[in-house]
């Protein structure tokens, strides 16, 4: 088959599966956000109310704006820290050898723990009576020994970020190890021959060749950070107060706990906008190919 037709056939099955199963709910929820649907009043969506739900979220609901702030902070730090740590650990573990190989097989485990499990586990680890981390941090910094981490708005945020970064970094490290593999050794050797040190070689030779994988990781992690629910739910339930209530948590509670599916859909769609922007930007970055067919 000629390339001209093959390229569409290669892509078709996957695109069909995705469109058939995932685009319909996107459209449905967009329409739902323009209606009112309270599960507590009826089992089917109610009449159209236009952009009322959106208006309420943006102009009347302080919890929404709070959730936007919390989510922004959370996403920024988790993405930045995960990518940085993952890069470092990937460089550390990329060479061969028994120790590195053993550690590499263990990288899968933190990610295999479901986000809910990570949330519960970390909550117990900061328990003032028997929490492992409570004791640990208290031992390192005595002033921290009596601090109630999960009752302080800022510290609770720190814990939530830590738990999320802990869960994701090993997996992103795996991605980067794979990415490092496609960096050709010749370019690194050439840089060394030109007199560059390891650090400079890394910055100017390795990283640029990894930019596509890093880009995927950033977008991936950003999307998941924006959607973070289970970890927050189990760790702090958005508390203390609403200090760690992310948008995903707020959407969930609005929908299922407070029975307002119409409103939840509209807040969810407000979340979609930054993700769309992020993804579109990245797509332009990634589809810059000089010599494709």
């Amino acid at each position: 088959m000629s390339d001209r037709w093959l390229k569409y056939w290669l892509v078709l099955p996957a695109v069909v599966v995705v469109l058939a199963t995932a685009v319909w709910p996107l459209v449905y929820s967009a329409i739902l956000s323009l209606r009112t649907w309270k599960l507590s009043r009826s089992n089917i969506p109610g009449p159209f109310i236009g952009f009322e739900n959106y208006g309420w979220a943006l102009f009347e609901d302080p919890n929404f704006l709070n959730a936007v702030w919390v989510t922004s902070v959370f996403t920024f730090f988790t993405v930045a820290l995960t990518i940085l740590f993952a890069l470092g650990v990937a460089v550390l573990l990329a060479p061969g050898g028994r120790l590195r190989l053993t550690v590499r097989t263990l990288l899968i485990l933190p990610f295999a723990m479901s986000p809910a499990l990570i949330g519960v586990s970390w909550r117990f680890m900061f328990n003032p009576d028997f929490g492992l981390f409570q004791a640990f941090f208290g031992a390192i910094f005595p002033p921290l020994a009596d601090v109630q981490w999960l009752a302080d708005p800022n510290l609770a945020m720190v814990v939530v970020i830590m738990a999320d970064v802990w869960g994701w970094t090993p997996f992103i490290t795996l991605m980067f190890i794979g990415g490092l593999a496609s960096v050709s050794n010749e370019t690194i050797e050439a840089a060394h021959l030109d007199g560059a040190g390891s650090w400079s070689a890394f910055l100017h030779v390795v990283l640029p060749q990894m930019r596509l994988v890093i880009g995927v990781a950033v977008v991936l992690k950003a999307i998941f950070s924006l959607k973070t629910f289970d970890t927050v739910y189990m760790l702090t339930n958005g508390g203390p107060g609403t200090a760690t209530q992310t948008l995903a948590h707020y959407v969930y509670f609005s929908g299922f706990k407070y029975y307002d599916m119409g409103y939840a859909s509209s807040v969810a769609w407000l979340m979609v906008l930054p993700m769309l922007v992020l993804t579109w930007l990245y797509t332009r970055f990634v589809f810059r190919r000089p010599d494709a067919v």
């Binding site: 061969g96 263990l106 929490g131 991605m175 794979g178 593999a181 994988v213 969810a268 190919r289």
Partner: protein, 274 residues
């Protein structure tokens, strides 16, 4: 002089690696230790305790029956990956090596399907599946999981394929290979680390999926995360049971990781030899 430098460098690296190992594994060990403790010991900061296997036994009994949920999860996640990865690899290659009309829009739309949190789409799916007779079936969850993981699979694998230089394929094309042959013989081995990573990702996402499994299943197709949720009862978390189930989940994951390391490393070294 250079050797001493290199040795010191390596020593620092080993210290760092051990530190990373500790950070990664300590929470896991702590949780794992709870699996072997009696409840009364679980909530204490104790290093030494009398171990027991009771927790593992209890979670296989009614109402938990963790083994049934384990089986369901394995089948569902396995089938999802088995379908998603081949389709995603083909699509990723297509997006990477060719220019298609509307490619940017298609690409963004594929990923955009995953922007919405599950909560706003679970009820429409619930009603749809009820009408299609897919409620409480493994097939239903497989369909959902495919929708969840394929966008990420395509994106991730494309990222890896993009990193493979075109020269090798061009050489093979000149030698008369077809595209499909190239995908099978050139791309797959070189992109193996990336494809494996994507496969792990898709498996774990499907494995840990909770909300759809909760709403769309009742008795027959209940998966592990919903089973695990039974351990958060009125009294709070039954941490000893959660930990025991956690171990049962992690050990196969780790064995899986051991098995695929072979292909992972092969792909890595092949790339380095370039």
């Amino acid at each position: 002089m250079v050797r001493a430098h290199a040795v010191r460098n390596e020593a620092i690296q080993i210290v760092l690696i051990l530190f990373v190992l500790a950070v990664m594994m300590v929470p896991i060990f702590w949780m794992a230790s709870a699996a072997f403790k009696e409840v009364v010991d679980v909530f204490q900061l104790k290093l030494w305790f009398d171990p027991t296997f009771r927790n593992f036994v209890e979670i296989t009994k009614p109402p938990y029956l963790i083994q049934e949920k384990f089986l369901n999860s394995t089948i569902i996640a396995g089938a999802t990956v088995a379908v998603a990865i081949p389709l995603s690899t083909l699509a990723a290659y297509g997006f990477s090596r060719f220019r298609l009309t509307g490619e940017k829009v298609m690409f963004v739309t594929i990923l955009a399907t995953q922007f919405l949190p599950a909560v706003v789409i679970v009820l429409p799916f619930f009603i749809l599946f009820r009408d299609l007779g897919l409620l409480d079936t493994r097939l239903g969850l497989i369909i959902i999981d495919l929708a969840l993981v394929m966008p990420f699979g395509i994106w991730m694998i494309k990222g890896f394929i993009d990193g493979i230089p075109l020269e090798i394929e061009e050489a093979a094309l000149i030698d008369g290979a077809t595209r499909l042959q190239i995908i099978g013989r050139v791309i797959l081995p070189l992109a193996a680390p990336g494809i494996i990573t994507a496969a792990i990702f898709c498996f774990i996402i499907a494995w840990n999926e909770f909300l759809f499994a909760l709403i769309l299943t009742t008795n027959k197709a209940v998966t592990l995360p919903v089973g695990l949720a039974l351990f958060k009862a009125e009294e709070g978390e039954l941490w000893h049971y959660i930990a025991a189930a956690g171990i049962i989940i992690m050990v196969p994951m780790w064995v899986l990781a051991l098995l695929i390391q072979k292909h992972f490393v092969k792909g890595l070294t092949m790339g380095a030899v370039k």
